[in-house]
Symmetry: C2
Subunit: 426 residues, 2 copies
């Protein structure tokens, strides 16, 4: 992890420094397209075929029955159960406050306009398998889905042998309707298009490897496919810290993000070169004891420390970068927080490590990466709902607005639009 | 426009009837990709090149100055000006009620979680040129952008010769920051990637032809591109009517949607064969006087009337179809409205033609087509904003949650995540 000095760099160099590693899909696109087409054409049997090939499925059934979920959930150790219960409570509390209110207003006499929010009926949640079972992601996706009132919540996760007890516990606690042991692009295709065995969903959520994220992009571009939560890139954190911060804490925060994957990006902006050096030596100390040390070391090659001219510059650089996670560990974090324009989730002060938001503070950990925070926020209740507009006009209401509509429609050369008003008032 | 009878059709036939016409992009994708790559590589000069080729640009400037906008706006006739002012007022009123409230809650003692809504800083609005200038679309996009507080609102529209006075009036009334006379895929590429002359935007809104909508899809799939409002398909209306409705009104509503384009789809569901026949003969009468008769006739080939077993079946079929526009013109429209699960904008009763929502009732006319209403709503204030989560923990707050976070992180084998908590409490 190198240290750079802002005043020694021109604007072009600064921009290059903050450039995210390019995302290339060319090598996987042929494979993923083939899998999707196969599932669209051959349905369930091709899902089973790929599940055997890629997920290590034994037998011909991908459905994990409710009985098995309950049975496995009972095996959870009590300490972990209590931790999940506490996280559940906080996430539930924060997300239920987001439930939207419907709107109703008489815009003119006799013209009532409403906006109602309704749950998306069928949602699919993808939970990666791989080296660790991310039961926390199921909490983050299924709790808002439940609060939103989604009628059917489908989960796909590639389960090796028997389902992890923590994942089973979360699934039973929240009440998942259908749980399938299937992963990869074939799981996404199954949810997006449906098969003889599994009804299609309206929107797919959740992180995944390059095959999963590419499959999500492809099905969301297809008119007969499914919507998706958001585009996915590697996870990232940007830390802004000054000399009042503890270098140990800052080092630990950078390392916690770095263990996500070799393509993660971690950035520290500080206004003191001395502080930058202290953090770097703390990183070199703490890294020694990490089980995922190799991943962390690879990640730190993409990462950097920049000594900025002042903290206002730091905020401006951060706003341009639009980090998924932003930690502000400075004395004046409150005033800096007001200047934030683009970020996914923000952690303020010395006692707010990113990991509390990853698990249990109450906020969601499904967040926009790769600069998408400029345009979209993280997963919330509204991610699982959509709005519908309603209008009801009385005959007088229509009279009041008729000349306006007729004039505008005729100007746009849409005479049949004008007629639909005129015919009613003849 | 054919009449079908529900009880004579099996489920497969019904599904085929409601299938939307396939969207094919294969022939245009090569052209659009080439234009986008050219603009990415060669910037402003290639935008000018395509604007000359496709938009009929004279000279080398695409920027329409504020002076010219004001000058042209003054040429608007007073009746049209008053109509636009009235529409503006209703749209403003309905949309400002949607402004979201920030959330703040102490999920546990010492853990404060917040969700704040901030405007997307740079937005681009695409307004099609072509046979008519859709100034109403500028109202529908720029009013919520302004209420949301977007810092920079860019408009692209291919202007022939001089800018239409209604469009100029709307642009000056709302206060557009930059207005460019450029259309097509090159306008989308310019906004998504930026050039030496035009700074990139964070999100692009607005309808367009197949080149524009494909370009929007492509830039939204590119990590360095831009977000977009929603996927676009042909416009559509589904009308549910019973014998208490006036067949003249229903015919006019179907025709008003049909004049949008030959690929539009209009559907009538009614529980009375006699009523279906009356509507059909009204269509044949009213169609004679329409200036866009050829478009309407072509559209009606894709369209149909279905005589349903009962109105509850009609609602269920409509929920499965998820129409962009839904008109319920029945005696019991209030009770049917409660059963709606998927639709973009709904028009209730005999005096609520779709065209009032297209222009002036107050609701937005940028709506999800092609079944996307199952997962997304129309354009609103939140389309121009994003949320950011914040969390601030005290030392005691961190203590209260520490064992929960450490336990969950270690179970997920993310030890550096656990360390970021532990190091602070040593």
């Amino acid at each position: 992890m190198k240290i750079f000095i802002q005043k020694n760099l021109n604007e072009k160099k600064i921009n290059e420094l903050f450039e995210r590693p390019a995302q290339k899909n060319n090598s996987t696109i042929v494979i993923v397209k083939k899998i999707i087409d196969d599932v669209k054409k051959n349905g369930h049997q091709s899902v089973i075929k790929y599940a055997k090939k890629y997920d290590g499925l034994n037998g011909d059934s991908i459905l994990i029955s409710k009985n098995i979920l309950v049975e496995q959930a009972e095996k959870i150790n009590v300490e972990l159960k209590n931790s999940i219960d506490k996280a559940y409570e906080n996430i539930y509390k924060f997300h239920s406050l987001q439930y939207p209110k419907s709107i109703s207003v008489e815009t003119m006499k006799g013209i009532e306009c409403q906006k109602k929010y309704l749950p998306i009926e069928n949602v699919g949640l993808y939970i990666p398998g791989g080296s660790a079972v991310l039961f926390s992601t199921l909490l983050m996706l299924a709790i808002p889905a439940k609060i939103a009132g989604c009628k059917r919540i489908v989960v796909c996760s590639p389960v090796k042998n028997e389902i992890n007890s923590a994942l089973a516990y979360v699934a039973t606690k929240i009440g998942i309707d259908e749980f399938y042991s299937v992963g990869g692009a074939h799981a996404i295709a199954m949810m997006a298009y449906g098969t003889e065995k599994v009804k299609k969903v309206d929107k797919i959520f959740g992180p995944g490897n390059q095959y999963v994220t590419l499959a999500k992009t492809l099905v969301s571009n297809d008119y007969n496919g499914s919507s998706v939560d958001m585009p996915a890139g590697p996870s990232e954190v940007l830390v802004i810290a000054d000399k009042f911060a503890n270098p140990k804490y800052v080092a630990a925060d950078l390392l916690s993000q770095a263990e996500h994957g070799i393509d993660s990006q971690v950035i520290l902006l500080t206004n003191e070169i001395e502080f930058a050096r202290k953090v770097l030596s703390e990183i070199n100390l703490q890294i020694k004891n990490l089980p995922r040390r190799k991943i962390v070391e690879a990640c730190l090659i993409n990462s950097f420390i920049l000594v900025v001219n002042n903290l206002d510059d730091a905020i401006q650089l951060s706003n341009n970068y639009a980090p998924e996670h932003l930690i502000i560990n400075t004395k004046n974090f409150k005033s800096l927080a007001k200047k934030i324009k683009n970020a996914g989730s923000v952690f303020l002060g010395g006692y707010s490590p990113e990991s509390v938001g990853d698990y249990a503070s109450g906020t969601n950990h499904s967040l926009p990466t790769y600069g998408y925070a400029k345009a979209i926020g993280g997963v919330d209740i509204l991610s699982f709902m959509k709005s519908i507009s309603f209008q009801t006009l009385t005959k007088n209401g229509l009279k009041n607005i008729s000349s306006t509509v007729v004039k505008m429609a005729e100007e746009e050369k849409l005479n049949a639009h004008a007629n639909a008003v005129k015919v009613r008032l003849k």
